[in-house]
Symmetry: D2
Subunit: 442 residues, 4 copies
């Protein structure tokens, strides 16, 4: 349903692209009509929430979804705002329930207290929370809900009611996408072309430019794993690309170049996670990536017992923005602004050292709310990884230079340290890093 | 996990039988040990709820589940009671949140009001609600949660804290078993034997006595459909048995006898739902049966367009208990007590008419909380069915006589009336019935 | 198509039972009509063989098969005889081709010689060989051909034309059932019930009396493997039952009793093949059993690397008949005739030794055409097995006593010796046996 | 195994391209070694044919295949020649068998006559026929045999022994690829990418230039069907591309252009078979294409009952060669030789009429051995199709102009006439054609 995708900072890159028209016959499921007004929607939602769980409710939900899908973006936002504000909590009911709770709060009256607490909680639960299950029960409804949330996220986080609506939706999606329901699948060159086509379209970290290039990422010393949901068949929820290597690889070209060297899988000792993609912004915050990494580590260890080292080769998406925004006199050596085309090949040793030092400082010290400011760093550190290496010339592509002056980072997933690292990071923000990295910041 | 099954009145019969030991090698997953004390559990739960969502939390959940599974029934109840009472809401935190809400309730302060409402709701949400997702994320965790709830239901509905715990668990299971995730499957003689064995074990309405009898319920003019959940492969959640017939069948023997007549599927005009089984008491209240009936009606209509009538042939489990408990002088014609062996074949016409009248009255007038007192009647009426026929000698088996003096009922699912019926019944309790049935009560 | 099954001595036991009527609705595929005469068949076959490979030929083949299937057994035989005699070779054409070959037999005329040889070979190829491919190309045609051959085998081996027809049919079936096309499948309790039902019906060596007993042969320390053909889905062509044990088991009750001991698969060191069944007599001579054993040995070795010993526990179907037919004064110790109920438990030591000695002699020395006279012995020895043990009281069941005075034999499949053994046995008839077995014959 | 593919005139185009190296690691399955001599091969084959069917034979066959696969093309031919000449028939044995037959040819001696005929036939059967089953029984052996025959066909048809060897191989492949064993599959955009990649590589009639173009041939109003063999999974044996249209389409661009119009499948009344590809030259003569067309007609009729007309849009590969080779004064209007670039757009009406007339004459009158000279025409006419239309400007691509001055033909598959047409054509060569086409030749 969402037409305008947007990156959302949920750790690894999230990307939603405009889906191609489903039909070439001019058949559009619900083309926008003038008659679709907020009044209609208000009536439909009210009917829906008034009903009990009969099939008439199902029909109304289906109608609501069709109506919504056919609206242009601006009208969708108006609808979401209407739902968030008009079908939230009933303030008077809340006040009555608060009063009722106050009356039973005497000691010993436990039964009534429990009931009164529950009544208050129900009063505090926005009416629209009941819409989620009604929509996800429709055919293709789970996907619709994911897309709906993507629309909602585009509206931004400024209005309290929209934020509240988003929180409820996220909670419902978290339960729907319970890890116990997800299926881990290795994707190979024998997978359906329709699925592989989606990978090409979705891959956000290191673009896949052709079917041949995709082929190269699925065979020999490469693996690609994805999570799927039973109600969204053929739709990868999150996928990770892995290279089996000898030793940790620090330079993207060594992994991606057409003429790269191949490693025999049975001789590999290391698995490099070089790309993690969350294609659905509507699933932001549902925490699929960390589960995927854990499960893939298990899979790779089982299939390749000699692989002992698990690490990423990751971008540092926030570094350059942070670096360029520093006080003008902080580090005069490097130009800023308008110079994405900086010739990193001709940077002299001093400036190089200065940049690497700045990057280590960014990763180790720049914080947002106690967590690492860089979203990818925050993602891996939350999972219990440590910062193992910071690599000059790790990604010399224009995008890489634009993002982080071509610097890349390896995060290390050491099975023996993962729990300890995660606990420390999620506790007081302690970041695990190798001595080499620490040495950079002196 | 539940060892002692019990019928739970969720519309159609629910039955859980003791599962056979998984292993013949003396391998018991977590045999009971003395060291498993409530203190251990308290510590584990506290750790779990204190943690953030790292893999250490997963490990603690796994440990908790193992510990619980190895306990004997009485200790399990003690554990559930402990969780329900010690990990519910924090009264002081609630009071503080109520106070905070009172402060921001001035007009115009909408943002803060939304936040304060949310803070109060979170305070009112029992801590143990966070255990559900942690358990369902474990391998086989969804099944564990269903079994856990079965244990909980055995404890009864008298203690407010246990009822509250059950409500949270039910809510979590409802989302996990969202209809959008369930898979409708027709079960045939080509289905896995391990699955068919479960049907034999689970069938609660009309017992399946042998593989041959099961075979007969899967072929020719018979159909059997079930819902499955992706995280519980091979485990039917609810199943319905259907006979394709010419006209509505009112007598069970005509459906079940070994030498019954067969109908050619292409000549059938009616589908009789003659058995609906919910094997998992832990899913009581999750409302799978009504969805199953809707989906199966659609399936049968698609496969057999000439089938126009959809009806059940149902037991009346509550009739005899109700009848026998009436005032002694109400209807002196029939003996009560201790006479399950009543010779219904030799009942004279007057008594027969009297019994049928009483049965119609029971179905149309006996109420519990505004709903039909008979659980099966309540189930079908809630789905929008109507009472079409009341049949003397419909089930002459000892069980049938014991349940309802051998009387059966046909509920009619008329696609054109389902919504209207359901709305009326769920609204003010109006029961739809045929003229014949109404005529019985005069 | 064959109604009257018969054991055919193709190594392990072959059994065909009467299949149940396919339909309960009185629908019989082609009920016998009076009009089905040999004249009709003659015309149809002639049309078929005259045609080129167009769809009209397909239709005629289909018609022929329907006609044939609807005939009672005696008429079927008449039809087979008609085909064998009237659509064989054309003697005059053969004579002309012989004459033509004689003319070109001069040296140097190689091209013409090759052509003349081919022309003669074609003249010598019976016309009916072209029927096979036409029938196997029909839907379910491969199965029809197998059944047709079963009918043919019932007619016996006395008439040269029928034997010739059988040889052609066998040759065609051998190519159709090329090992490269067959699929090895492990059958488990998760296999379709319709398939498991066939196993119960087919098992010929050690009867399966119930679904529960079958279950016991599929789980824990038991394995069951079968070959399938893509054109006969769901139809096991040959299947073998395997027990994983510690050491070689010599007594059937130790394998089959309800209260037998179980071995943990990971602790087993031996695989006992205790039953091999060829359900389709129409596949006699197609050599599926030996391929199955080879493939299953590979499977078991792969799944259970610690299993090092592969042996059978086999019946000796021909022993008692051979023993009882020996000269009356040969071994007066044991009664013959009419005494299948011989009380082997009360046999004294001398007679026991005498019987074991006789059995060893039977296995090692009784020959038919240079091969072991016992069909099961011949089967395993041809595969390269050796005779490892002869077991008193190996099968104390009435059938076992009736077959071989309760004696069983273990054939050993030693991967290192299989080739050598097979070469020797198929070469000059040398039988490999253990020292213990040899010692018995002194 | 064959490296150098070649078109073989088996009706529709057959193409084999060089397969890419299976491995990028420098692992070549059997790289050529000097030691592989004809002597080795001779010994191996002799051993193989001397052996009985034990596993040692299997090993020898495997060794032989490895040895062969590693040879360069010229050595392969020498090996094939060796097998064809040294392991054919034994002339002396033939002569003895002829003599033996002569002796028993008296009347009444039927049994002996049958045996003597069989002995002679066996003597006339080349020894190498026994190699086929040994090779096809190997893992991947069926594919090896197909490739082996492709090698053989490259050697040409001049040497009688090679022709004889090919005939035996073809006969074996015909039985292995019995229509009863083949699986018809519709290929869609959800098929494995590895399979779709093969379609792109194999398509010989109308080149597929990209994945996007292939996608367009699999969706909406397009269908693609293929036959598969169970022993060659993922390998299409023959495939046909179908367009669902309104009315017969005569111009290729209307079917293939990127901006072509789409037909809604439910509104189509015609199915156009616009491309049939036999990727495996080793299967020449196995007659897969005609079976495929029959089965696809059935499939399309079942899925789209409103589709009533089945026709091809076919190239005329032999026309231009035939036309350009006519006597110089036959039709001076058109240039020949070296002018594939003929500007057919600027041809005047007279020349156009003259070309169409010549083309009709070519299709209706040019014969090779009584059959239509054009291989595609011969294929469709043999299947029972008729010539419906001859289309100017049907294929204006350079290849189309090169092949047939851009002319295409529609063959019509009229289900009611197919049998009659095939019988007539295969009988006396009568070609079915529409009045319009007949009118062209006057």
């Amino acid at each position: 349903m969402s037409r305008s995708g947007k990156d959302v900072g949920d750790g690894p890159r999230i990307r939603r692209r405009r889906l191609p028209s489903l039909s070439r016959f001019g058949l559009r499921r619900g083309a926008p009509t003038l008659g679709a007004t907020l009044g209609d929607v208000r009536t439909l939602v009210a009917q829906l929430l008034a009903g009990s769980e009969s099939s008439s409710q199902r029909a109304a939900a289906s109608q609501l979804v069709d109506r919504y899908s056919s609206l242009p973006d601006d009208r969708r936002r108006a609808v979401l705002r209407l739902v968030a504000t008009e079908f939230g909590t009933d303030r008077e009911r809340v006040d009555r329930a608060v009063a009722a709770l106050a009356e039973v709060s005497g000691p010993g009256a436990s039964t009534t207290r429990v009931d009164a607490e529950r009544a208050l909680r129900l009063a505090l639960t926005p009416a629209y929370t009941r819409l989620g299950p009604l929509i996800s029960a429709l055919p293709r409804g789970v996907k619709l809900l994911v897309d709906l949330r993507a629309d909602l996220l585009v509206l931004g986080r400024r209005e309290a009611e929209l934020v509240a609506l988003d929180r409820e939706l996220q909670a419902h999606l978290r339960t729907l996408f319970d890890i116990g329901v997800l299926e881990l699948t290795r994707i190979t060159w024998d997978s359906p072309a329709a699925l592989l086509e989606k990978l090409i379209r979705y891959e956000a970290v290191n673009e896949i430019r052709s079917w041949e290039e995709l082929h190269g990422r699925l065979v020999d010393d490469r693996r690609l794993y994805a999570f799927f949901h039973p109600a969204m068949p053929g739709e990868p929820l999150v996928f990770v690309e892995v290279a089996l290597t000898r030793g940790i690889v620090s330079q993207l070209p060594a992994l991606l170049a057409d003429d790269r060297e191949h490693t025999r899988p049975e001789q590999a000792d290391t698995a490099i996670f070089y790309s993690i993609t969350n294609p659905h912004s509507g699933l932001a915050g549902v925490q699929l990536g960390n589960e995927l990494i854990k499960r893939v580590v298990d899979e790779v260890r089982r299939d390749h017992p000699h692989v002992r080292t698990f690490a990423t080769l990751s971008p540092i998406p926030g570094f350059r923005r942070w670096y360029d925004a520093r006080p003008a006199d902080a580090d005069p050596g490097l130009p800023r602004a308008d110079d994405s085309g900086i010739a990193i090949d001709s940077v002299d040793d001093d400036r190089r050292a200065s940049l690497l030092r700045a990057c280590a400082r960014y990763l180790l010290e720049a914080r947002t709310g106690g967590r690492a400011a860089d979203p990818v760093a925050n993602f891996h550190l939350s999972n219990g990884a440590s910062i193992a290496r910071i690599n000059w010339h790790g990604d010399p592509s224009p995008v890489g230079v634009q993002r982080s002056y071509g610097i890349t980072v390896n995060y290390l997933y050491d099975p023996r340290a993962i729990e300890r690292n995660a606990r420390a990071y999620l506790g007081d923000g302690t970041i695990a890093a190798s001595d080499d990295v620490r040495a950079l910041v002196g």
